[in-house]
Amino acid sequence: MSDHRLTSEGGAPAPRRPPARTTKADFLTRIRQEMGKTRGLFSATASERPARPGQRLDLLRRELTERWPQTLERFRAEFERVAGVLHRVPTAADVPAALERICRAAAARRVVAWSADELGVAVAPALDAAGISVESMPGGGVSDTERGRLRAVIAEADLGVTGADLAVAETGTLVLISTAGRPRSTSLLPPCHVAIFDPTALVESLEQVGLALEAWHEGPAPPERGAVINFITGPSRTADIELTLTRGVHGPKEVHAIFVDGGLARHG
C-alpha cells in the first residue's frame, strides 16, 4: 500500500484555501503513475463488442420473428412475476378498447400519451369519445412555457400511455428510449403506466439487449434521440420498512402492457 494516505485528517477542518482544483491532466497522471507500478492481478479482457451491431440486430430480429409466440409466453411469465399485467389484442384497431378497459378499472379520467406517431396507433379520439381526456405529447418544437404546462399535466395525470422499444422475455422488462414526443415521465409520474408493443419489440435475453444498445449507439445518434433510455421491470417497489414489499413508492403502482399481434404502424 502506498504511503500518502496514511496520515489521519481528523479534528477540525483545515482553513479554507482558495480551491486549486484537480485538473483532468493531474488526475490521469496520478492514475498512470499507479498503473505503471503493476501489471494487474491476472490477464483479462473486456467483452468483445460485436462488429456492425446494427446489421447483427436486424439479423437477430428476423430470426426472432420466427419464434415470437414462445418469446411472448416467456415474457408474459416474467412480466406477471414482477406484477405486470399483459393484455393481448389481435390488431392495432383493438388497442383503444383495451386501453379504455384499463382506464375504467383504474378509475383513470386524465390520461397522457406519447404522440400517436410514436405509439404507432391513435388512442386519443376513441378515449375522448368515451369521456376520458387524453393529452398527446407534441413531437417537438415546444416553448418553455408549454414545457412547464405539459410537465404539470403529466404530474396530474392518472395514467400514462407509452410504447416500448424492447420487451425482454428473460426479465419481463420494457425498454423505452426517450425522444421528443416520448417524454420520460409519462411512464413515471402517473400512478398507472400502460405500454403498447408488438412482436418486433420482443427479444429473449439481456445479452440481446446488449446488442441492441450497441446498435443504437453505432455511429452518430439520430438528432431526435433523447438523453435517457429506461428499463422498466414492473411497478415501482420498495421493501425498506421491515422488508414488507410495497408497490408504487415513487413511480407507478400498476404497470400494464398491451401486446398487438398484428403489429403497430412502424414509425421513423
Partner: protein, 468 residues
C-alpha cells in the same frame, strides 16, 4: 478522506449491537431473506457462474486500462453536453458540488441513494451552504428524518421497526397518529417526496456504472427515485468513484445480469436508467445541466495497492448478508460509511490501514463473502494482508505483536514447536475446564475474554505420526 462516524471502540459498539434484541432479530430476518432470494435467483440461472467470471474479468481489464477508459468517458460525456469534474479528495468533491449548487442558485437538492455521497459526507456540506438535501430512497429518507446513518448498503433502515417509522413520520412530518402500516407509511413518503421532486433545483445521484464508449451514466433503483432525480430538477450531478467505469454496452449487459440477483434476488431491478447528458432539443424534461464528478478519495492509490481487487466491488451488499460477523452486529457497529466484509477493505482504502486496526479482525475469515461476491473478490486474502500491515506498521498493540512474532518463530521450527507443545501441556493444566481453556492470565486474558481455546492434545498429531 472520511472521518469515523462513531468514535467508541469497536468492542463497545459490537457489545451494544449484540445487546439490542430487535436489531438482532431484524438483521437475522433481513439477511436470511436476502441470502435465500439470492440463492434462488442464481439457482434458476445456469449461466450465473460463467457471467460472474466474465464480470470479474471485465473489472480487471478495465483497471488495466483505466486511464484510457476514463479519457473516453470524459470525452463522450462532454460531447453530449455534460461537464466532468475531478475530485482527488472528499473535500474537493464537496467543494465542486457546493459550487455547482451556488452557481445555479439551488435551494433544495433531491438525492437518489448513493454510497459515494455518503462517503464524502455531502449532506452536511450542502446544508452548510444553504441547500437543503432531501434523501428520496425510502430507507434513506427514514434515516435522514431520524438523523441516523444507514445500516445496510441496500436496505439502509433495516434496524427500524414499522412502529418506530410510524412514530417518526407522525412527529417529523406533523401528521399525528399514523398507523404502523408499511403501505400507509410508503404512501405518505410518496406524497411528501413527490412535492420535493417537482420543486427541487438540483438532483444528486451516484452511478452504478458509467459506460465509457457512450458517455452513459447508469442508475439502478427499485423505487424510481433515480429517474425522478435525473429528469425533473434543472441540474443533475452524478458522483462516482473512478472504478465504476466500464468499457461498453456489451459489458453493461453482463453486469446487469448479475447485479440485482446478488443484491435482492431480482432478475433485474425495477428501473435501470441510462443517462446521456442533459436534455436534448425537443425533449420535454431532463436537466439543463449535467455534471459528472469523478472521485479518487483513496481509490487511485490502490490501483497498485494491496486492496486493488476491492476496486471491482459493485456495492451489491451480498457479502454483508452472508457474513457471520455482520449478521450479529449490523452495519452501525462498523463505525464507517461502508459496513460488512467489503466495508472493512473500503474503510482501509479511504482512511488508511490504521482505521481498521480493530475492524480487520471483525471477520472469521470463513470465506462466505468471497463465495457470495458476484465478481469473486477475495476479501479474506485482503483482510489477512491488512492484518499483516497493521502489525508491521506497529499500529497493533505491542503485546499482540510480540506474541504473534514469537508464534511465527516457533511455528517455523519443528523441534521448538514440539518442545512448546510439551511445555504447553504442562502449563495449561490449571486452566483447562471441561476440555476447553476458558481464561488465561495476564494480557493473554484479552484473547480468552471472548473466545475459548482448545487445549494442547494429550498426544499431538506429530507424536502419533512418529508411532505409525
Amino acid at each position: 478522506m472520511t472521518e469515523p462516524i462513531i468514535t467508541t471502540p469497536l468492542r463497545e459498539r459490537a457489545a451494544q449491537a449484540l445487546g439490542d434484541r430487535f436489531l438482532h432479530e431484524a438483521l437475522d430476518i433481513a439477511t436470511t431473506k436476502f441470502i435465500t432470494l439470492r440463492r434462488e435467483a442464481f439457482g434458476a440461472f445456469p449461466d450465473g457462474d460463467q457471467l460472474r467470471d466474465r464480470a470479474r474479468a471485465i473489472k480487471e481489464a478495465t483497471l488495466q486500462r483505466l486511464d484510457a477508459h476514463l479519457e473516453t468517458l470524459v470525452a463522450n460525456v462532454e460531447r453530449l453536453g455534460g461537464h466532468v469534474h475531478f475530485a482527488a479528495t472528499a473535500e474537493e468533491a464537496r467543494d465542486i458540488i457546493v459550487d455547482i449548487a451556488r452557481r445555479t442558485g439551488a435551494r433544495m437538492a433531491v438525492k437518489s441513494k448513493s454510497m459515494a455521497t455518503e462517503e464524502i459526507h455531502l449532506n452536511d456540506a450542502l446544508q452548510a451552504a444553504g441547500v437543503t438535501p432531501v434523501e428520496t430512497d425510502l430507507g434513506e429518507y427514514i434515516i435522514q428524518l431520524a438523523h441516523e446513518r444507514p445500516s445496510h448498503i441496500i436496505a439502509p433502515a433495516i434496524h427500524k421497526t414499522k412502529g418506530q417509522v410510524a412514530e417518526l413520520f407522525s412527529r417529523e412530518l406533523k401528521r399525528p397518529g399514523l398507523p404502523a402500516d408499511p403501505e400507509v407509511l410508503t404512501k405518505i413518503a410518496r406524497e411528501e417526496l413527490r412535492e420535493k421532486f417537482l420543486t427541487a433545483d438540483l438532483g444528486i445521484t451516484g452511478a452504478n456504472f458509467a459506460v465509457a464508449e457512450t458517455g452513459t451514466v447508469v442508475l439502478v433503483t427499485n423505487e424510481g427515485n433515480g429517474r425522478m432525480a435525473t429528469s425533473l430538477p434543472r441540474v443533475h450531478v452524478a458522483v462516482m468513484g473512478v472504478e465504476k467505469v466500464i468499457p461498453s454496452m456489451t459489458d453493461l449487459a453482463v453486469f446487469l445480469a448479475i447485479l440485482a440477483k446478488s443484491a435482492t434476488g431480482q432478475k433485474l431491478s425495477v428501473y435501470t436508467t441510462l443517462v446521456q447528458g442533459p436534455r436534448r432539443p425537443g425533449e420535454l424534461e431532463g436537466p439543463d445541466e449535467f455534471h459528472l464528478v469523478l472521485l479518487d478519495n483513496g481509490r487511485i492509490a490502490q490501483i497498485a495497492g494491496t486492496l486493488r481487487e476491492s476496486l471491482y466491488c459493485l456495492r451489491c451488499g451480498a457479502c454483508l448478508n452472508v457474513c457471520p460477523v455482520y449478521r450479529q452486529i449490523g452495519g452501525h457497529a462498523y463505525g464507517y460509511t461502508y459496513p460488512g466484509p467489503i466495508g472493512i477493505l473500503l474503510t482501509a482504502m479511504l482512511n488508511g490501514p490504521a482505521s481498521v486496526k480493530d475492524l480487520s479482525h471483525a471477520s472469521s475469515l470463513c470465506g462466505a463473502c468471497a463465495d457470495a461476491c458476484p465478481v469473486r473478490i477475495d476479501i479474506p486474502r485482503m483482510l489477512i494482508e491488512l492484518r499483516k500491515e497493521v502489525g508491521e506498521r506497529r499500529i497493533a498493540p505491542w503485546a499482540e505483536r510480540v506474541v504473534f512474532k514469537a508464534l511465527a518463530f516457533v511455528l517455523a521450527r519443528p523441534a521448538l514447536y514440539g518442545l512448546a507443545a510439551r511445555l504447553g501441556r504442562v502449563a495449561q493444566r490449571p486452566f483447562v475446564r471441561s476440555g476447553r481453556i476458558r481464561t488465561l492470565p495476564l494480557f493473554f486474558g484479552q484473547w480468552t475474554r471472548t473466545r475459548d481455546l482448545p487445549p494442547v492434545a494429550r498426544r499431538t498429531f506429530q507424536e502419533r505420526w512418529r508411532d505409525v
